[in-house]
Amino acid sequence: MRELFADRHIGTDSAAQKSMLDAVGFASVDALMDAAVPSAIRVAEHGPGSGDVRASSLPPAATEREALAELRALARRNRVRRSMIGLGYVDTITPAVIQRNVLENPSWYTAYTPYQPEISQGRLEALINFQTMVADLTGLATANASMLDEATAVVEGMLLARRASGSGSNVFVVDADALPQTKALLAHRAEALGIELVTLDLSRSSSPQGVSRPAPVALPDCFGVFVQYPGASGLLWDPTEVAAQAHERGALVVAATDLLALTLVTAPGEFGADVAVGSSQRFGVPMGFGGPHAGFMAVRAGLERQLPGRLVGVSLDAAGYPAYRLSLQTREQHIRREKATSNICTAQVLLAVMASMYAVYHGPTGLKRIAHETSRQANLLAEALLAGGAELVHDSFFDTVRVRVPGRAAEVVAAAAERDVLLWQVDADTVHVTCDETTTTEDLDAVLAAFFGADAPAVSFKPVHRSIGPELHRASEYLTHPVFHTHHSETGMMRYLKYLADKDYALDRGMIPLGSCTMKLNAATEMAAVTWPEFAGLHPFAPESDVGGYLDLIEQLQTWLAEVTGYDAISLQPNAGSQGELAGLLAIRGFHRSRGEAERTVCLIPSSAHGTNAASAVLAGMRVVVVACDALGNVDLDDLRAKVTEHANDLAALMITYPSTHGVYEHDIREITSAVHAAGGQVYIDGANLNALLGYARFGDLGGDVSHLNLHKTFCIPHGGGGPGVGPVAAKAHLAAFLPGHPLQQRDVVAGRDGAAMPEHANIVSAAPYGSPSILPISWAYVRMMGADGLQRATGAAVLAANYVAARLREHFPVLYAGEHGLVAHECILDLRPLRDATGVTVDDVAKRLIDYGFHAPTMSFPVAGTLMVEPTESEDLAELDRFVDAMIQIKAEADAVAAGTWPRDDNPLVRAPHTAHAVIAGEWERPYSREQAVYPVPGLEHRKYWPPVRRIDQAYGDRNLVCACPPVEAFA
């Protein structure tokens, strides 16, 4: 018999499932699912096992070996040529020690977002290195722990400028020399928010070397000014004057910049920028046909609390030692809901870690060498071009040379392509060539041959023309912290990465039962193709003929995802669930406007919804109206009907999560969606909980018009410690024309809009046409190896696991919000409030105590304060589920001992948790409980102990004393 990958992916075998079913009280998984999932929403009459799950386009499950062979065939249809296209993406050398020990290491890629800081100190340190690196290089006070990409970071910079500027203007000035994808994204996002963009040729106001100084551009009244530095054209110019003018008008200056260039040239903070953004891709992260890469944002002092996304800071643990944590979390979208100023949630942690380690490995001297070498190649090329009689567009540049070749641009680009070098054709008369750390003399020879044929001048080796004027030379120091000077040998680097990984808890240690996060297996076979050169080495704007394998993979994955969700069209472009949400809401907005119903702007959101829903609605230009929920957490139908009636004329959409955020299959879902449709509204179904439905029900059949999916939850892309994510937006045919495309895409891969008129900005929501393609082989492999049956089996196993945990823990903790038959969906909410009332032990204490037992805590206080939400997923085996259940039961007994007075309320293993090795070894032991009780509370831990590196972290101290850069080494003495 063939070995099925599903048997490896699903942690429980049939014997284990049998004993779990006994505990839950059902004879089979089918019977359990029949009872749990309302029959009205099921995909087929015939039920599981019949083969009729309407997933007809999914091929039968492939084995791991077969799937890899198919991926290799797809990879072979990609053609990796030397890219000198530039435009925000350049080739780079990923140090092998970083590829092997970070990108290919489950200790890094299977970790979750560091919301439990005590068990996340390793990646928090890596992220604070990232923040220090970005802040130093940009010359600004504080950087965050990454953005989704450069173009969306520019949009966030625009939004930050709007709220921080005192100006009453709604005008944002955009540099004419900005990247094309950034311009398109600004246009799409600004339009929904009523921001007026004014594009100006800002670099005209400065003086490129050797060019007579033109009159400065006069800025209009505005709240912000965006400059690209160096420009998309490669032009290196001095924005000091523009910045001064902007500040006179009360506007903020947002600069998109290049970290490598900044090792040589004046930093944005030094020319007056208030905000700097960009991509850290060229710090060792492969182009990957567009992503994922870590964007960044840094701000000057005084704007820290305006930063979107995540910010790592330093606080103290219970012993007074410095410890890292996420700062200012209450400013995030999930808390602020419709008052949020950004919907950014996921970051690009894995890629930010890689980029920061590139800087740690090379240090400031190494980075400067790489920058000099890159600049030298560009200068050699420029000189040879001039020697051959070509005309350069400008002579002040870092890595990019623009060449005027009247009427010959297409011919030159084609001639270069014949020599396997990709150049960028700006227009009929202009070609643009970008150098990077991988550029060789042979590459330059090929470029010159493309321009001049047999008469090409040779590349010289004499001292070269200086393309960086003395007025732009960087004088200030950067990366002075010892971490950037210590780990330069490969041995040192390998050990630093191991030292950090050892501090963290990831899926390679044990279960991460985070409700709503779906921390399932990220299989090794799924991960294999990510680093293959045919997937990693492609530029996002490479010619269509070079990327056939990728485009086919994308279209296959889209077809499969559409099939299993009941939709007609999918765009894989959004780089996170929040971005998929935004894309979906913008599609709804576009749809209403196309029908002359621009007044439809009200978005109904149930009170139980995740806060990001509301934040995304606001950023899509909508007005949030909250719909009440009943005691079970379900949408209150009467209130919904009342709100729908009240907003019959201006209803745009309802956003609803299914199963609900409380983990319940609501029976009224069809009535809810029908009521909204009857009033002319569209239904957005949040796909966060798709892991409870796949193979059993489809959003499209429930009345959904559009949804986002989280490939990093249901479809096995690893969380990477807090990103990358992929949040495809899926829609019915009538919305297809409004889904994201891209002005520079090779092919429109969104089904169902052939010939549809697209706006100039193509509804773009990410910098790259297909988002983060290099991680799509992961989800492709998952679906390919599971097949329709395997996906359905996984859902059944996930629902069984959650119900098993609920059944075993019910007598110890109340389980909230069970549906009919007392069943939950794929996650269960344990109510710890009665425990707190009886014992004083809080949800925090339980979460931290779980660390002592060797677990990552479940989701805390979402969707209900004072509760834990447990999502075991299908991938955990019965032994691990039992280990978790036993830990929870034992912790309950400890809390009862506190209630009984055995231990004081302020001195017991719960309030003191977690316990470090140091805490139980150092000095005299003066606790009322034993050291064994502290760190080995259950048998077996002696052999598999995870030791937290710090004790409980003081959250308030860190937010009151905001420090977001590497602390001095002495702090840890």
Partner: protein, 119 residues
Amino acid sequence: MSELKYTAEHEWVAVDGDVATVGITAYAADKLGDVVYVDLPSAGASVAAGKVVGEIESTKSVGELFAPVDGEVVESNQAVVDDPSLVNADAFAAWLIKVRFTALPTLLSADEYAALTNE
């Protein structure tokens, strides 16, 4: 100075002549938890009753400060800006803003406020 008045937004108001001193109640401070940051309007800012004029941020959430009266801010409490934990230490001592008002709206009495917070 008259006895303290309250708002439904969990603020206390002490009226002295035409100046109202405003803070948040101990109940609100307790619900917010550890206050880590306050953002207050500067002197000279004009405020309108019922409108948000500042923010009180804790480790759990971000609360908003509403102006209880129409008027002009005469002073904001720099000591609390510098050390937000003062709000938790004694919410009734840690005043936030003083507003010169034109007319005093009806505010809640101590009993009425107690009834409101008596869950």
